[in-house]
Assembly symmetry: C2
Amino acid sequence: MKRKVTLKQIARELDVSISTVSKALRHSKEISEDTREKVQAFAKLYNYRPNNIALSLKNRKTKTIGIIIPEIVHHFFSKVIRGIELIANSRGYNVIIGLSNESFTKEVINMEMLANGSIDGFILSISKETLLQQDFHHFNETINQGMPIVMFDRVIEEINCDKVIVDDLKGSKKAVEKLISNGCKNIAIITTKDYVSVGRLRTQGYLEALQENKISANKSLILKIDVELDSEDHLEDLENEIEQFFKKNKNIDGIFAVNELYAVTAMKVVRKYDLKIPDNIQVIGFTDGVLSKHSRPGLTTVSQHAQEMGEKAAELLIERLELEVEKEEYGEEEEHYQTVVIETELIERDSTK
Amino acid sequence: MKRKVTLKQIARELDVSISTVSKALRHSKEISEDTREKVQAFAKLYNYRPNNIALSLKNRKTKTIGIIIPEIVHHFFSKVIRGIELIANSRGYNVIIGLSNESFTKEVINMEMLANGSIDGFILSISKETLLQQDFHHFNETINQGMPIVMFDRVIEEINCDKVIVDDLKGSKKAVEKLISNGCKNIAIITTKDYVSVGRLRTQGYLEALQENKISANKSLILKIDVELDSEDHLEDLENEIEQFFKKNKNIDGIFAVNELYAVTAMKVVRKYDLKIPDNIQVIGFTDGVLSKHSRPGLTTVSQHAQEMGEKAAELLIERLELEVEKEEYGEEEEHYQTVVIETELIERDSTK
DNA sequence: ATTATTTGCGAAAACGTTTTCGTGTTGAAA
DNA sequence: TTTCAACACGAAAACGTTTTCGCAAATAAT
């Protein structure tokens, strides 16, 4: 077992100084061609690679991005990660992941763990619990310490940072408009309780679409699901709740669900009542994940372009990181944060006419 | 914007030495109660946190685990990650992720990027391309440099490291036996080409089950899919290939597929021919992912307990990491690597009788 | 032959810690 | 009064780099 070789060892072996070795390896003009070749040959032979940690300490930057997300077993989030990783890697950055598990405390702990030098900046999506508690001090503190944050999907207006969001409102509106123009008269929405911002926005899109088409919203056609039923362990509860909802509203001929799971579960329930999709009831979901593609019938859905969100978020963060280097040289300029909106796209499959 | 405070700054501010500050914060008995309190109060006020990078450099360990996987947008892998993260975090480790994208080169590059000090050890699953090329030098080199590796799921016998595998052979055997005992006479298998070790093992399980039940294997009932059709972009090609296969083998009454995607795609094809599942054809898949749960009919499947695999892998790695510290103190002992087998479980749903 | 310039290299500082060891001061024991 | 331990603290090394600066030797210019 040969441990990693260091500059010091090379220097000792070749009877030169550490500085000489370092310079020789970085092709410094200061070093004679002779020594340069000698050192490089030796380094190659022993497969020398500079130690990242030492570099990080010296440069005071780690070339690593911290990602904090609520959940990784999730098509949307994993696609975002893929996008982030793609851009990050191509620009020489690594990606370190912390899962909040939708818990406020874990989110805070994870961020603290990473903020102490391990990373240069965060890309994150806020946990449901944090949204619920409305406690955002950890974000502000991190930013105040000079560590940039890019938020995606679940963001908060008031925090001063770059953001990447999907146009939830417009996306939902398009979806509901599609149902309307397809002839639906009684369109139900299956959504989350309001504190998850995306749920609120998507509900709003639903309402606006109705309004603009002169359809009066019917409160009993709005089903708000408790987030606790989202997990895979509560599939049956979710199904039951949706079934109760159906029983109470037999006239439904269109369903807009704010995520895939709600949509396919709704379809499952619909089938129990021997109704045909899309003939009797049309369904549109949100998020173009694996369920939408493989459900039967194929689910018409609003695609969020998750990977693109990740890519954009990574670009924003890295730009800011590299820009900061310059900022230190010139004086501080005004910081200006952007919010990038990723357009949604309605992907039509067989659950609509 | 107040930058992170360091020991040096505290020392200067309080007019003591850096050593004193460090000791005071670590509750050293060397420091008088007076100074200790003073320092701690100041540190708390300025929210002092030791810099991780500096600690890593000093301790020559990063408390970070590197994960290399072929793909993250994948139920199995993301569940494994969740398992790893769970254990890692509870033991004070972070998790840094590299995606190989099933490419040999990216696997190598990613590993090199992380191996230079960024992490203490790897948990990885080998890319298909690497398996195909049979080039494993990067694993051996990493291990030779004293960096432990734990492989999971897609592993290689010959490499000297801990492994966590699912009992693919037994799992498949159980599945096929189930089909047999349910009365299937012509059982097809949809599998991958042989170089993907899990595909090979699962095929082997299929063959053994047939043999032990005195059913002669029929080569035309074995469909080996090219891995390139696995991605979401080639769903149609996959479907076509399976359809051709069906056309040639109209007598199939049972299907065992080595992953979810093949299974649900097969079901899709079956439906085209107006055959009933499970009445005319029974289907069993592998991997209990989101597709199995939500497909219609629900897919009977072999569950691999992905999260448990991740947990076990993390435990193995961390144990070895902490053990190594001791090993440096006592002389080197014989290293002994384990291979942990995670039992599979047959989850019965509606695609079997 | 003397001075000026270039060349090639090493010493040392810096990044932020922890830890070993040394040392001056105090109070107690001799 | 002298000796010794206990106490409280600081200096310095170490982890592995990069980089600035200084310095000697070699070369060029006068």
